[in-house]
Symmetry: C2
Subunit: 156 residues, 2 copies
Amino acid sequence: MTAEDCMRRAIALSFETMNAAGGGPFGAVIAQDGKIIAEGSNLVTSTNDPTAHAEVVAIRRACASLGRFDLRGAEIFTSCEPCPMCLAAIYWARLDRIHFANDRADAAAIGFDDDFLYREIPLPLAARSIPTLRLLAAEARAAFTAWDAKPDKIRY
Amino acid sequence: MTAEDCMRRAIALSFETMNAAGGGPFGAVIAQDGKIIAEGSNLVTSTNDPTAHAEVVAIRRACASLGRFDLRGAEIFTSCEPCPMCLAAIYWARLDRIHFANDRADAAAIGFDDDFLYREIPLPLAARSIPTLRLLAAEARAAFTAWDAKPDKIRY
């Protein structure tokens, strides 16, 4: 399949999930070697899962299918520019490349927070709209020290 | 329960998941009206899910438990400052407040990418380390137009 074929499938999924009341108008596929290995669509409202964006759903399914927690060697095609949650998920999944169609401004124009989140996340904690407080740092540190010293840890 | 009690439970979860080989040393709880309504810990490597960070796991469980896709009125206690994926998930879940213990610099010191991702996400697309390309914008736009006109859409 070409890149355009993969993107057309992601776009088709964006229509399907909206029409089936799955969630917002977003679809994504993950492809490797010219073949789609997983598909996802927005399922936030139908599954009561605010993290069930198309890209996250596709990443979870691709990893489950491959039995791995990384997707090196694969690419994601998403009908809309990933929001910061999905973008960071793409980094954690170690995907090679991102293809998108609609962008964050298009999403903002129909009422989604993607662009707002891109502005919010780089702010210092005190400037963000969700109050954020630090406590018990000294107690939590011990877990990190233990991880650092753990001989059989699985890195990701 | 006090805020310190909630955070101590999140820290305990960070040790438990590490010692049980669930994943990295991270735990989180979601509390409402002084009561924990959901717990989560990092399950990335044990479940082959790169999105299974403690905060995401806790959010998904809290929403499943409440049968809602938002967590207005609740707060999250996480043993480490949320990475951008988890921070955006917290915004999408509409949580009222964030409490954290370790921070992104502590996480970087033991080999995690949180701080790198905070620097990467605000960059222009062309400056990021994952190549990002736009295609078929005109074809994808139709789904957004349809969503905008959809009379029975469920916003989130």
